[in-house]
Symmetry: C2
Subunit: 393 residues, 2 copies
Amino acid sequence: MLKPNTNYQNLKDSYLFDTILQKSKDYLKNNPNAHLLRLGVGDVTLPLPEVVIEALHNAVDDQSKKETFHGYMYECGDYALREKIALHYAERGIKIAPDEVFISTGACDELADIIDLFDISNSALVMEPAYPSYVETNVIAGRRIIRMNSSEENLFMPTPEKNTKADIIYICSPNNPTGVVFDFENLKKWVDFANQNGSIIIFDAAYEVFIDSPHLPRSIFEIEGAKTCAIEICSLSKTAGFTGTRLGYTVVPKNIIREKMSINEMWTRNRLSKTNGVSYILQKGAMAVFTRKGQEQIKANLQVYKENAKVLTNALDKTNTWYTGGKNSPYLWLRCPDNMNSWEFFDYLLNKAQIVGTPGAGFGKCGEKYFRLSSFGDPHDTVEAAKRLIKIL
Amino acid sequence: MLKPNTNYQNLKDSYLFDTILQKSKDYLKNNPNAHLLRLGVGDVTLPLPEVVIEALHNAVDDQSKKETFHGYMYECGDYALREKIALHYAERGIKIAPDEVFISTGACDELADIIDLFDISNSALVMEPAYPSYVETNVIAGRRIIRMNSSEENLFMPTPEKNTKADIIYICSPNNPTGVVFDFENLKKWVDFANQNGSIIIFDAAYEVFIDSPHLPRSIFEIEGAKTCAIEICSLSKTAGFTGTRLGYTVVPKNIIREKMSINEMWTRNRLSKTNGVSYILQKGAMAVFTRKGQEQIKANLQVYKENAKVLTNALDKTNTWYTGGKNSPYLWLRCPDNMNSWEFFDYLLNKAQIVGTPGAGFGKCGEKYFRLSSFGDPHDTVEAAKRLIKIL
């Protein structure tokens, strides 16, 4: 008799965004003329940059003619794209070899796949509040999860403590949901910890492109020692509007060795066994992102989201609301007013101001008194939301 | 200290297609004017059907405008596409609900991901010769692998034996590499076995579209009882030329229950945690495959490959070569002449006839005296290859 993977029974229901959707629908049913200001889900709203569209069209045309048709792609990613991404790092002074770069169908998929490199006996440290995938993928695998709570005391930027022990360490910076960006000093503490303990850091850099300050690391490889202990997972979802188009990349340095096994070689081998590569069309689209024109065009789109963030931080500043993020980050994480818990505040915002946000409780217990606002919404709606926030906060 | 997944050390080097490529290159170096007839890799060579190209272009255009832009897709697949695929089954008399259909980035990726539903203690039965992924993904997971050898005696169509025991059972029909298609009677034996023993069959139907005979099952769900024990993994790679474009689908019936856990619900939950869905653009392209026009156009392409197969079977028939496949299947599996082993025959074919094929040894030990030819090559090259085969066999 086949035994199912009973670890699934240890997963909590993932009803966060479903519940938000249902509550929004119910509200519109009772208030059919209302216009909801959606600052909830972290999805982008602007179209793909022109150069990407052009590249995608050209790639589709390639697939229409025998002479230019592409079949199976190399499992680890097209070499030209891997090279382009390595150059993109080089421009920021980070040396990465093309075969340390792996093309993926997106950061979420990659976060799920990559832990296959590690033994089941390893523990996984998750700093909460956190993107649910870190916990869920390890619950499914049956790994022990160490939850490290962060709070206002450490400005939601926890560092290793005396009794901290962990084999796999998740760091998301800029953070989803708190918007906090690790500074050099605190990120170095984690890199040193990992090297001292033989741990491996999974560095989720999905929002790195929002960092404007030169005093904050955009890549963990800006930290000395990271190349022997860190895997960096990147995505074009927020960088170039690829949430629905799908493409990401991952850097696995060759110098990460555990028990004489090269993690880079293992991941290469994994890809050869477990995938037939990423779509030719999407890889061509991604190539365009890393051209000069591509970089200019994504900056124009990002500017819209950054303006949204500014509008929202201004509102929170005016109302003396305690919050993190909003600078160098698309997310704002605010303390709910009047000691409300996050679902209470959700209802309050929806009913009083027709604003839809995300309750902090959805990201872990220590998020219960907090609330996430996203700057990916429509600019007009965001301005209106800011006005209403000032009124009711 | 993090412990890497040491199961990787139990993987064999995957040098099959690398070695073929290297040998071909060496030959061309020594014979710079030679034209190689490539009947090796199972990759398609014809461009995507017109309706698919049109749909892909339209989808790219959608991503270029704010009004039609699509962000995150539903993790299990776009409902419209799932419905279309369910209808496609219904046309053949098979009742599948849309939420039993899951859209994937391809059969290879899905084969790797889906075994996450099962406990590590389960055994996996692989009928060799076999597509290497079945063994490799389970080696990485640390599962016990039961190799069931097939041979000329059972016409490379093994059935459960008295002492057969297995929790997960892989069946590939039409088979890669042997080209053998399971008939109703023998497939029923496996379905009955699985239901009696609580096993689950992973049915790899990547080549189903090559089955023309009404007397052979194209889907395992044509077999009574399959809906309580079988998962069907399908792909547009060979069906519609998607090897480099990437899209597949998987049917997980709601009636598969093990230890009171619904495998369909588990897979839904898995997708919610482990992916952000398949590209909007690619799902739109796939939609076009399931239109009337799409079906007509893929048939025209498939006809080319089927003609190739016919040309090759004629040659093998003329030379009285023992083989399987080539009918209702894109692959031919022949016994090497003069008791040669498969790599010897590879060199012989390359040097005497400039034909590149695939040595059977690459698919398991019991393939050592056999050789795979593919019908996905260029039609002119295939005709020329057939002529030369007749001369030298």
